[in-house]
Amino acid sequence: MAEELAKIETAAESVGPAPSPAAADMPLLRIEEVGKKFGSFRAVDRLSLDIRAGEFFALLGPSGCGKTTLLRMLAGFETPDEGRILLDGKDIAQVLPHERPVNMMFQNYALFPHLPVRDNIAFGLKRAGMARADIATRVAEMVSLVKLDGLEKRKPDQLSGGQKQRVALARSLARRPQVLLLDEPLAALDKKLRESTQAELMDLQRRLGTTFIIVTHDQEEAMTMAGRIGVMDAGRLEQVGPPRELYEAPHSRWVAEFVGDVNLFDGEVSSRDNNRLTIATRDAGTITVAQPRQPVTKTIVSVAIRPEKVKMSRRGPVSDAGTSHAINRLEGVVTEVSYLGGLTTYKVKLESGAVARSSMANTARLDIDAYSAGQRVVAWFTPDDCVVLEQ
């Protein structure tokens, strides 16, 4: 207990838990080949991931992808079948939850219904054997940090959803954990509250410098808050990177489709030069794409274009395949128009029968630029807007 207390205290001294000097290039948290099976079901499949100190990291994936299991292994509620979890260089894979300098904020908050707000926040501090006076100071600090002033004596069932969420946050932060784990922290809040809470969480994380790892199935939430996102599917990390990279340079068809909307055209590389690939697609004719940084080696590929990169016009710009200003043109008929307020999405049926999707920002109030169903249009996009995905 005393050791733990000392740890909490030292963590309190420094502004943010900096990595220890001995392992300066070591990430705060290293997940090494970690696997977990439930029966014959592989929830987490030999997964590796490094998370740096002070990062705001999001684990994003559909339900059942193993993200929660991974988080629970970090918290200690599940023990990996294989692999190591190194925190500050020490393997904590087999350490029990109460002995880890890691805290978790539960999806349903798991507030103790028999304790008032104050005692909920103080719960972990008491267990660490902190002095009474220090506990009072820390609780007061936490209460003002999450703006719960005046509610200290309330019981959880006398709080609103947003207030409960704050208590849960304060409680898990009170012990100044090296890593804070958040399991779908905003899932129970309504949309408006969720947005303001996102901003507060980000602000809090920046001020405290604590490493946050959040699990969510909501990509907008992950992209808004996290510095880096790990996209998970079937127990594996499909791709790890900053939001922009995930969206603009997905590594796989799966990531491209999971993060945002995408047009995908399968085809074969028909010619390649220094900076240009020509791909003969099954559904959309020949598409010219910019040569990606990583050279494409396979011939069977998919071309991915985000709908907002597909512009529409009645005739389309002139394309000159010879110059670098080559433009891909897809001719078709508008079949569906969905007005969403800020933008409008269109479905365009190509001659092959395939559908291309386009979305355009409604930058003007009057609908001079709008297209209607049945209209013949040209959907066009530049080679730079395409991503080549190898199967």
Binding site: A75, L96, P97, H98, M104, F123, G124, K155
Partner: protein, 271 residues
Amino acid sequence: MARTVNRISRFNITSLALGLAFLYLPIVILVIYSFNASRLVTVWGGWSLRWYHEFFNDRAMLDAAWMSLRVGAVSATLATLLGTLAAVGLARGERFKGRALFSGMLYSPLVMPEVISGLSLLLLFVALDAERGFWTVTVAHTTLTMCFVTVVVQSRLTSLDRCLEEAAMDLGCDPVRAFLFATLPLIVPAIAAGWMLAFTLSLDDVVIASFTTGPGSATLPIRIYSEVRLGVKPEINAICTMVIALIAVLIVVASFASKLSSARGESAAPL
């Protein structure tokens, strides 16, 4: 909030009212007659506490009542302790060897005919050459009533959100402390309800007590039973009324406690 298809019908109200009347009328009549001054049940002789006086001068009855209260208190306490431990074992022990036997042993006495339980315990006590009296009845009642405590506490434990225990562990509790600090406070109403159930069951039992008690240490129900076999006696009305009053007080205290605890944010204990 009744929706159209769920509207309560006249038939529903009638059956409910008749059912409740059926349950309560005999008890109400019994209570009223306990204040009857007349020795004859047929005749209403005006209000009187005569039969209560009679009881308080009936040495044998008083001894039996005292014996019953002692057996009830001790066996209910033991049963609550053991039953709660058993409930924890079943609700949190996951799978273990002998679990099926354990839960079988705990659920069977709930419906086991009392003549069998009573007979088997007596044969055990005879074989052990135990002197029959207070302790044998207490052990017998503990065995029977702890099963009821187990059911009450276990159903509360399984309905609790396990996240609370995980949160406690996350905040630095080892499993035992997590149970003590996060779980126990929430199941206290169920444990209290279990104690009361055990106490009233013990206070109620004729059959098992008849088998397991010895000469000279009759419980109140045994005395009442032997009197009743001989016919109605107004004094019995008075004793029964007092037992009902005692249990009513316990129920009021319990429901008050469970209201208090639900005001503290816990769901009321299942009685």
